[in-house]
Symmetry: D2
Subunit: 340 residues, 4 copies
């Protein structure tokens, strides 16, 4: 039975607590939040959990083996540092930290302490993303040409980061994982419409090795939620629509080859040229699979799929994108980037 | 009865011929195409039209008042020049020409000859785009924050331009017209996956006055047709999905204001926060409205909505985007741009 | 603090337990299921609940004020009877019982005991259905012409009733409530494809007063979930698509009146003739609203919206439909039906 | 070159004229309509066609080999009779006639005269319906359980028949052709909301051999166009959504077999249990394929796919449904029905 502490009971914290509480091989022993009202909500539902507005209390409970951080980004580094130094495993909400130097420091600290450091890039554990990884790794798509992601919704509520750090962290992790490498350079451009100056719309392009181009549209001023990714290869292409209730992943054949002018005209009025296939997807809650993986890594010492390295890479890309944003689209090479 | 000549009977030419033939105030007298097979197809359907592989024949028929150009982009300038010099009105398929200097020259020539020059930016005449223009001009959206367009499909068949010149010309015309001004600067980035080196994927960002940001995703390697535009304002937002059979235009209220942490969490799991309204749209074929407008301008001497100025602005933006593409996203200011 | 007992922890029971456990004015004290494995699952999550394979144990706990029945239909009557006789309020999963005589008997018993009897017709408490009720009651639709419901999915797993009793009970409750009356007669026809003889496809038509026709398609052999209701009135019409993530309720204007032959041809190629409006919907979990209402009725003695009368009416309609099914569509008048 | 006469230039006539005019092996020589205004519209577009308000004129032109009837249903029988008696082939808009006796008489007359009689059941020639036929005939679906069709739209404009005769004729032809037999009996129920008494909503159930049940929802009072057919077999199932721009045909695997209670609960919250496949469809205009087939049958003497037999069967089913409608759902056996 692995003892868990959770810091932060805002939007995402309740999902983390629920998932660890539903398991038979772990339990949440401590919960901390600065807002006593939020703690009362949790207590009513989970009377056995010890709550406190002071997170350091859980660090003095020897039965707490691992701590989960679900707080604003700016606090990730100091909290994770304290947790690791106390000799505990740590699971950090995305993005890992707010600049790459601190992420690097945490990875080194975890290694020194022999503890698991994992970042909560939940989508990597979802049925659709795992199915796409399986399809890409099988070579079914052929050569990978592009990955295009749109992640937009009403959301001008995040206080300490811009929209790219908030929404984009998801897609950057997905892109890195699916493509299997890191970008060589990024370009980003955006706009801020409110007084605090943080971008509420941002576009990022990442140039990956082998002429694979990735692009990301993040937007907090959109009327509806859109989460759509197009992945193009030389043989097949994927449309991943996470808002679609039934068919989130569709795989399209490129269709017949075009040889005559009449072929071209025919293609131009069609919606698609080849067959489509929508595979059945694992419906397991992604966070549930992620929590199981975290506990596994604690028990076996394995490196998490979404460990420090992936978390750092996402922060490094966001760092570079931030610099490009300031220079309105200038291409920024990635320091130390390398194919995975 | 206005006499029309048409040059080019490829993908779009047949639609132009059909629309002019169905009118009672105009008729197509001449049709020219380099491919005799295409001319035979047209002749079977419209036995009264004189066909020729030499377009200059129509310029010696005094009953031809106006000529429509539906040929590859590189030929637009010499053809339009010859037509205007022969003292005829001209309607040019988009984009107007392949560089801004020649577009400027054609505008000057048309003015000197006192003839109508119009560019076939068909979408400007469509029910959905006209409805959006009406909504924006009414002030219903509030301050305009962004316009985001996606126009992707299988289409690696265009030989003489890249994907931005081909697909992007549509959206750039729409953006300029809806926003009512020209961008101050553009940034573009893309990738070419085939040997001829023309980009098959390209992203363009255009910075318009008043902090309005516009973005465009064009892609010839996409498995399905997507034509979607999001327009965000301070009060309301529009989703325009041209592939949607029934509800192409949806107008969303921003919804309730958010004051507490719980409000935020509630919003984050929702798809939208306010009411949505999908106005009935005029179903007239856009090209039919456009042809009527062209004939009107010929009769009255009025300046077309999609006249030389809009056509030139689109080419000027494409020119700048082309330079930015070569420098991988560097922001390129627009020469001579000004608010309309 | 109202003490709750729950009988049955299969598909629906866990949702009932969770909702009562999350409230501050009630708590689940006892849970009973014949399957000890299911009880262990519940116990891990809610350690404070007393579990037993014998439901009579909870009836000897004086702190249990009300019992919720979430068991197969055939057991509803004996369980509800025992609960009411023990002087407790009862909430029964739909359908209330498997024939109208026993439903009538339970209503009389609850009245005699002065206890609340409520049926778990959850959809009545959902945002979309409540919004439709509000629209219909406002007279916005005009005269009501028809209600057409489709509720189909893979589901050949229910053992003790046919598809109409299983899936149809939802829509019959919704129809009665929205129309505000009971049908005068019903016709039903269906087919059974497996050995036990219960219909896995069934169609039911119900003739309501004022020439309002209602129809229901239930099907356990459908490849995808469909839950769609069309409601037609003389002025406006509603499409309710419960699988649609964002716009479950769409209200359509009838559109312009048709006077000429050309108008007709124009209408025939269109998807719709008038504006559409999709109101924002309350996102509260329906079962949460229902549990709150049950507790309210217990405290105030009010009659539940989905009380015995509605539950009985649904069973009475299902009874009549069952007779019609046996006679392959013959119209069966409803005994004792009357406008609500 | 086969000479064609067309009677009726209302909603559908223009499509017939256009399709025959675009062919190289046929031409429309005569067009007749009672409305001179409609003839003028046609004349402007096709100056070579002889028009007349008296259809008998075309019967004296020896170059007219075949006549197409696109007039109201009540006129089909007398017109077709006159055409066949004049020794010409005939293509009749659906439904063939307004009662089965006259349809039988026309078949006998065509046989006697050795002429082709064909009914314009256009959908039989469409890509999606032909693909479904191919799938069903391959045995891929397994045993056929049901066919369920919805065909609804705003359409209270047809004067001489009710909604079932108008819209239902399409689906009945499709059902017969796909199932490969005729129903043994039908039940129908509906409602009329306007003074002329014709049903504007009607539901029909048809019991086919081998326990295959077919159902049809036709409705002229629906806010949006819906054309959806579900076809269920023991192994696979088809969803045919004719309003879907890109994926009209989806084939679903039944998915994994269910063995435990937990399996069942898992299935119940899912949208589907197996893979889905959307085959590429032939995009040829159905009416174009149909016209080609009509001309082929004229040349070769072959019996049309949608010949008199299918046309008669549709009328016979509509006749029986009409009787059932009058008796509010009573099952009516089909006279003379037999497996095809």
């Amino acid at each position: 039975m692995i003892g868990i502490g959770v810091i932060g009971y805002g939007y995402w914290g309740p999902n983390l607590v629920r998932n660890f509480m539903e398991r038979s091989d772990a339990t949440v022993r401590h919960l901390s939040d600065l807002d006593a009202g939020r703690l009362a909500v949790a207590k009513a539902r989970y009377p056995t959990i010890v709550t406190s507005t002071d997170y350091t209390e859980m660090l003095s409970d020897p039965k707490v083996d691992a701590v989960v951080i679900a707080t604003p980004v700016a606090t990730h580094y100091p909290l994770a540092k304290a947790i690791l130094e106390s000799g505990r495993h740590v699971l950090i909400e995305k993005p890992m930290t707010d600049r790459s130097e601190t992420a690097e420091e945490l990875i080194a600290l975890a290694a020194r302490k022999g503890k698991v450091i994992m970042v909560d890039h939940t989508f990597i554990y979802s049925g659709p993303v795992r199915k796409m990884k399986e399809i890409i790794d099988s070579g079914e798509l052929g050569e990978l040409y592009y990955v295009d992601s749109v992640r937009v919704n009403l959301g001008l509520f995040q206080q300490d980061v811009n929209v790219l750090w908030d929404l984009g962290a998801h897609d950057i992790a997905i892109m890195n994982w699916l493509i299997g490498s890191e970008p060589l350079a990024v370009s980003a451009i955006g706009a801020a419409h409110f007084k605090d100056g943080a971008e509420d719309i941002a576009y990022m392009t990442a140039l990956y090795p082998n002429n694979c181009i990735a692009h990301l549209h993040t937007n907090w001023l959109a009327p509806v939620k859109v989460r759509m990714t197009l992945i193009g290869g030389s043989r097949r292409m994927i449309v991943y629509d996470d808002m679609e209730p039934s068919e989130k992943i569709k795989v399209y054949d490129k269709g017949m080859s075009v040889t005559t002018r009449e072929d071209i005209y025919r293609i131009l009025v069609q919606y698609r040229a080849g067959d489509m296939h929508a595979p059945r997807l694992d419906q397991t809650e992604p966070l549930s699979a992620e929590c199981a993986h975290f506990l596994d890594c604690i028990r076996t010492g394995a490196t998490p799929i979404t460990g420090g390295e992936l978390g750092l890479s996402v922060v490094r890309i966001l760092d570079a994108a931030q610099r490009s944003l300031k220079e309105q689209g200038r291409l920024v090479p990635l320091r130390g980037s390398a194919e995975a």
